[in-house]
Point group: C2
Chain length 165, copies 2
């Protein structure tokens, strides 16, 4: 078991794309409760099953297991809640921490979210200048929420805020 | 991935207890949807995470992974839907097949269910004389249902049918 502190931000330009190559992710949820999520993820050549517990501020319990690729594909195609999520992830080291930038596709096309994992909730860190507004506490940006309420269904004003920030 | 055919029956006496020693099980659900279940189970000294797909008649998709005992305990104690399920399981070979008899405790005390796993839906098999009515198609006997609607909450007439059959 590991506790992770994740902070999420909007992204104001695609400058991040020149800093890393993207890895294609396909993921889906067997459960997208607010209290607990069970996620199937294919990340490049690897596949995982990940269980996350209740969000308390930015702290969550997390359990992750490697699973065979063919079983991950079968769960994504047959068992997971529709739609599943497709995105490219760009992993960018910056001033001693790692940023993960997710560029979504499909029903979430247009949405880009940056995430940084930190050792504690009050750790200070430097932001690249293409990092915009923090959205850590906003549940509509959780990957699990993007299944039930994808970006394409958001009101136009909300979409613009994300893209133009 | 394996397809399993399971048939469930009520039990008319405790004669099964003289045929095997019971193993203590503690299990809980991270998801108890009708379309898909995610189960954490401690069975004696082993711990598993099991994902089962949609029930079509008696056929379900199933994916199972070994997990560390301490992570299973943490998920059962902190993440699983309340109540978790406790039972003793008796495994009894009989006429070429394996019967599993579950004697429930806690909120399901009084309930005993026998299950046989078969290679196909029309496979013939011999029943021990302590096997009673078939309940394969009745969703209230699913382990996942016993979390939301435990035996102690069933109407007295339904409880009597199970115990007196």
């Amino acid at each position: 078991m590991a506790k992770e502190i994740e902070r999420k931000f909007l992204v104001s330009s695609d400058a991040y794309k020149s800093l890393a190559s993207g890895t294609y992710f396909h993921q889906g949820y067997l459960n997208a409760d607010k209290d607990r999520t069970v996620r199937v993820r294919i990340a490049g050549d690897d596949a995982f099953l990940t269980i996350k517990g209740i969000t308390e501020g930015a702290t969550r319990s997390e359990f992750e297991y490697d699973i065979p690729m063919d079983e991950a594909e079968e769960m994504l195609n047959e068992l997971c809640i529709r739609p599943t999520i497709e995105k490219h992830r760009y992993v960018i080291p910056w001033a001693g921490f790692i940023w993960e930038i997710d560029e979504f596709h499909g029903e979430n096309q247009g949405l880009v979210i940056a995430e940084i994992e930190l050792p504690s909730e009050d750790t200070e860190f430097e932001k690249p200048d293409w990092i915009a507004e923090e959205v850590t506490e906003d549940p509509k940006f959780y990957n699990a929420s993007l299944v039930n309420y994808p970006f394409k269904d958001w009101p136009e004003a909300e979409q613009k805020k994300v893209i133009q920030e």
